[in-house]
C-alpha cells in the first residue's frame, strides 16, 4: 500500500495500519478523522464533499511524512485522505504511525494530522439536507 494517497472510496484503516507495521515497532498510533453531524437554520448536514489539488496535495503529504520520520523519532508513517462525497460518520482522513514506544507514535500522529490541516491543498464543502451547499471557511 502507498504510504501517501488520495482515494475516492472508503478508507481501509486496517490496511493502513498493516502498511506501517513491523517487528521493530512496539506501538502503532492510528487516527481517523470522521464526518461529524451538524445543523444550522433548520437544516441538517448530509455529507461533506472534498476536493484537492491532487498533485500538490500528494507532494505536501509526502513532505509531511518524510519530515515526521526524520524529526519525530518514528519508524514509519502512512497518510490517506479520501476525496469526493463522504457521508456522516465515515472517515475522511487516516494517519498511521509506527514507533518503538508509544509516546513518539502519539506525538507524531497528532503532528502529522495538524500539518495536513495547515498545508495540504484540500477543501471541503457542506452538503445540507435542503440541497444547499457551502464551502467550509476554516478562518471563521
Amino acid at each position: 500500500m502507498e504510504r501517501v494517497s488520495l482515494i475516492r472510496e472508503a478508507i481501509d484503516a486496517e490496511a493502513l495500519q498493516r502498511a506501517v507495521a513491523g517487528h521493530s515497532a512496539g506501538a502503532i498510533a492510528l487516527f481517523l478523522g470522521t464526518v461529524r453531524a451538524d445543523s444550522a437554520d433548520g437544516k441538517t448536514l448530509v455529507a461533506l464533499d472534498y476536493e484537492a489539488y491532487d498533485a500538490m496535495a500528494l507532494s505536501q503529504m509526502t513532505a509531511v511524512r518524510v519530515r515526521a520520520i526524520a524529526e519525530k523519532g518514528i519508524l514509519d508513517a502512512a497518510i490517506v485522505h479520501r476525496l469526493g462525497r463522504i457521508p456522516l460518520g465515515e472517515a475522511s482522513i487516516a494517519v498511521a504511525v509506527a514507533s518503538a514506544h508509544r509516546a513518539e507514535a502519539f506525538n507524531a500522529c497528532r503532528w502529522i494530522v495538524d500539518q495536513v490541516k495547515l498545508d495540504v491543498p484540500i477543501w471541503k464543502k457542506d452538503i445540507w439536507s435542503d440541497g444547499t451547499t457551502e464551502w467550509v471557511d476554516p478562518t471563521t
Binding site: Y53, H81, V116, K117, L118, D119, W123, P138, T139
Partner: protein, 80 residues
C-alpha cells in the same frame, strides 16, 4: 509568454472559472500576477488568507515567472 492559473476550492467560485491562461511579461513576479488576479477577480481580491503556489510549491511572491508555469490559487485549506 503564458502562464496557466488554476483556481481551487472556493476560489473557483470567486473567480467564476477553474482555469485561465494569462499573458505575462518576462521578469514579472508571482507577486505582480497576484495583483493582476486581485484586480481581475474582485471577490478573490477581497478574500482573506489566499496563497499562491508556483508549479505545486509555496514560494516567495518575489519569484519570477517563466513561460508555461502553473500558478495555483490556494484559499485557506480545510482538509482533514
Amino acid at each position: 509568454m503564458n502562464v496557466t492559473v488554476r483556481f481551487f476550492g472556493p476560489a473557483a467560485d470567486w473567480a467564476g472559472v477553474a482555469e485561465v491562461r494569462l499573458d505575462v511579461s518576462p521578469g514579472d513576479s508571482l507577486g505582480r500576477l497576484a495583483g493582476v488576479l486581485a484586480e481581475r477577480y474582485p471577490r478573490l481580491g477581497a478574500a482573506v488568507g489566499v496563497r499562491l503556489a508556483l508549479n505545486q510549491r509555496f514560494v516567495e511572491l518575489s519569484r519570477p515567472l517563466s513561460d508555461g508555469d502553473e500558478v495555483a490559487v490556494i484559499p485557506p485549506v480545510s482538509g482533514g
